[in-house]
Assembly symmetry: none
Homo-oligomer: 151 residues x 2
DNA sequence: CACAATTACCCACATTTACCCACTAACACA
DNA sequence: TGTGTTAGTGGGTAAATGTGGGTAATTGTG
């Protein structure tokens, strides 16, 4: 589905242009309706086609709501999930609370991640990527599935 | 159903404007009739469409009333449940006792949470969110359903 | 019954957002 | 290399939304 790294500029109003190569797929897949929420592990945003998101939300809502960890996940993920539509120019207006969370300024990065995108501030993405590369080197505890993966 | 994060200002009279994108759903779902009560785990309020709340109240009332814990829940939830209607401008007047419980001042946050909303003071929400994020990271005791959740 | 306090309804203003148009840079093709 | 087309960017404007506040009706209280 979605893949690739795309440097993008946010404009003064907080809008980001979706790269043209993804637009057709997005409009056909979900009429341009998307849902953005936060990533709980990293300070970045997740961007789903509406249909994808609704499947996920169902699973999250089905979690036992008396369990504190599940409650937390519900508050964080559903609580931040915001419906977005592409405007006539193929742009999304990212709401201020989400921009603040991921500390998005002018320069951001859109990462294709299969069924979704991730949105990072460029600065944070570059730094995090370096960390990842360093950890992979020393990485001792890889799950079996990874050990056996041939590229 | 409901999702997303909405920063809102309470005015001097204690009124909050429901974001326009939710109004249609609320009016169609329950003619603008809502019920607010307190959350017993966190210092925030819960806001239900009337129909949703009535289902919940039935379940609460069905709890064994000789059980002290059940009595407590009944007193807290049903005792604080207050009927609210949107005014002509799509606003709700939050009663003083509920505002006091959740320590709501000018700046508040409305969180969509599936079948209901949560209302937080902005300050408390931001602080609580940071706690949640830290706990999710170090989270050892995640239920299986969560461990296997792929986003 | 009178008074005070609260609430509902209404209007007006400020801000934000959606929509539109225009410019520039990049690319493709001849 | 020149030209046409498309993508990305910036920004103006009208409409919608959010906010504040006045006033009349209602409620509760002495």
């Amino acid at each position: 589905m979605f893949r690739g790294v795309n440097p993008i500029n946010l404009d003064a109003k907080g809008r980001m242009a979706i790269p043209a190569r993804y637009r057709d797929r997005i409009t056909e897949h979900c009429c341009g309706h998307l849902v953005a929420t936060i990533d709980t592990e990293e300070r970045c945003l997740l961007l789903y086609p509406l249909a994808e998101w609704e499947e996920i939300q169902e699973k999250i809502e089905a979690l036992p709501s008396f369990n504190p960890a599940a409650r937390r996940i519900q508050r964080l993920l559903i609580g931040h999930a915001t419906d977005l539509d592409m405007d006539g120019n193929g742009r999304l207006l990212l709401p201020a609370p989400l921009r603040d969370y991921a500390e998005l300024n002018k320069k951001i990065v859109l990462l294709g991640q299969g069924n979704k995108f991730e949105i990072w501030s460029e600065e944070r993405w570059l730094a995090t990527r370096e960390e990842y590369l360093a950890e992979v080197d020393g990485g001792a505890e890889l799950p079996d599935e990874l050990q056996n993966l041939s590229l």
